[in-house]
Symmetry: C2
């Protein structure tokens, strides 16, 4: 077989605020690969099928001297994020041709790896589309809910960005436990989607005051925070006493140089609130339980989800911007190739 | 016996910023009590010996319509806070004459109560001065350390207001577990005191940058936060990843209408930090262990403490201001009467 193009998306430049396609990230189709001849050296050759686009990727577009929970992207190298691919060739004892691998992928059509331990072979008994395994916001929602929510009967839950992949999964996990769920999103379309998945009180935070809703429908025992800022402020003010759990999944409002500073942080001790910052990579102890329960719930329709699947690595730069600005219509996934 | 004056300290007016003696609180010696004849109605008569003055009292000087972890003080009624007194007469089956009771006291020389369950009879095998039982910051430090610190070998601890009663006890609990302790305070005198109780790195936050000290001596695994503001900001920036524990004991900088807003709250999730707001009244499950261990440690000199004992209810208003402005020279205690 003749060499094929092995297209990639390169991290080119640290952005000041919003990333810019073609500047922050560059699509590069200058490299080739010979799938039959490329050396494996005891490793395995993977064809990338789907890649996830997530808000937290903005945090990796930084000066590598700034320490954070995930390494900075390397200038001149491909972006990396969660993906699923299929093994084309293997010299590795535990990886077979045709295996589907979940793990951290380079944004590149084909790659060779020797590190089997950093991938999970997906069983997919339910024959779900591969995009679901990087989508749904499943692992983040599941692991942190299991670790921190400590939900009790009668608890009231508030979920921000409930129309997004992580928020929507949290909503459905909470509803599966019979809890009252309040959820916010930034458009009427997302509010309608949240209602369709069973939210008790769904509202558009751009037209309705979060504080007023929580005042009326709270106090809240569990807060799933994807945004920080004014929502966090309203949640602090309306936390049930004592011991409300705030699961701090992200503060997208702070990623692009904006600067809303919460003004009532003293409620943390005044109301005995516990805040749990986490990164899903540190909660992998819940992974086996996730694969045992969540794909089945999705297959049975107990967890519904909305994907925003776009085809081709060329679109990655724009997809990243869309996720940062909330223009995606569901979990953002790049379909790199069919099987 | 002729009736005696039964002096009290009344909550008179909600302060706008700092409380003002004679305005916010008023010393009132207009009431009398006949110790032999006053009706007990099945209760017990207590002579107040010592009362605690604590930073959190400022939070109770508020509009009672504003909900918080402790009820607002009632206008026209005595202040209340932790105290120790001695029982002069009793008609209650579980309370005897001569018992020393620890609990929530009215700021009043004598009072009758029927509620034995809200007091603890102190054994005081160690014959410690009664002031120690409202002082030392013992219960707050002990209970929250037990509940939230989850100290592991090699952990680095940062304590703010380490010269204060709570901070100093936390320092000594951490040193007893063999941990490296960094501690800050606002005067050279307090820095010297912190060194005398074994702090590894003691500094004056008014002359040295908290950020620089933590950068050099951290990262920190446990943060005991008594102040919020810039110290919290520096701690967020220098938290060990993942899973640092921030024990949020208070934010004195926010009590009197000041408004420093933390600018890097996103570190909570970026570094996977867990923040635990608490109020000591909710951690009473640790009380028995406290009375089993801490008085002994004090008696053996393993926990040293500094008291600022003032005599007489007349001084209460000023003592409250001193605690709010950091002018007290140790745990602030009012000695109301000798036995």
């Amino acid at each position: 077989m003749a060499p094929l193009t092995n297209a990639r998306v390169i991290f080119n430049e640290i952005p000041k605020s919003l990333p810019e396609p073609g500047k922050t990230t560059v699509y590069d189709a200058s490299e080739n690969i010979d799938l039959d001849k490329t050396l494996l050296e005891g490793g395995f050759l993977v064809k990338t099928l789907v890649l996830s686009i997530d808000p937290y990727m903005r945090g990796r577009m930084r000066d590598p001297n700034i320490e954070s929970y995930m390494p900075a992207f390397e200038k001149g190298e491909p972006l990396t994020n969660f993906g699923v691919g299929v093994v084309l060739r293997s010299e590795h004892p535990t990886i077979s041709i045709g295996d589907h691998l979940y793990g951290m992928y380079p944004f590149q059509e084909y790659f060779v790896s020797k590190d089997a331990s950093s991938f999970r072979v997906l069983e997919n008994k339910e024959k779900l589309p591969w995009s679901v395994y990087v989508g749904v916001g499943g692992q983040t929602a599941h692991h942190a809910w299991k670790e921190y929510a400590h939900a009790k009967k009668g608890d009231v839950v508030f979920v921000t960005t409930g129309g997004g992949p992580v928020g929507a999964t949290v909503i459905q996990l909470a509803k599966a436990e019979g809890l009252k769920v309040i959820a916010s999103a930034g458009s009427e379309e997302k509010v309608a989607f949240m209602k369709s998945i069973g939210v008790d009180v769904a509202f558009n935070y751009k037209t309705v005051s979060t504080f007023d809703v929580l005042k009326k429908e709270g106090p809240i025992n569990i807060y799933w925070d994807n945004v920080g800022g004014e929502s966090l402020e309203a949640a602090l003010e309306n936390a049930a006493m004592p011991g409300a759990r705030f699961i701090e999944c992200g503060m997208i409002s702070s990623y692009n140089g904006e600067s809303y500073h919460v003004k009532n942080l003293e409620k943390i001790f005044a109301r005995g609130i516990h805040l749990f910052g986490f990164v899903v990579m540190w909660l992998t102890k819940w992974e086996d339980e996730f694969y045992k329960t969540i794909p089945g719930m999705i297959a049975r329709g107990e967890i519904k989800y909305k994907e925003d699947v776009k085809r081709g690595l060329e679109i990655v730069g724009q997809a990243i911007v869309d996720v940062q600005t909330g223009r995606n219509k569901g979990k953002s996934v790049i379909l790199v190739a069919d099987e």
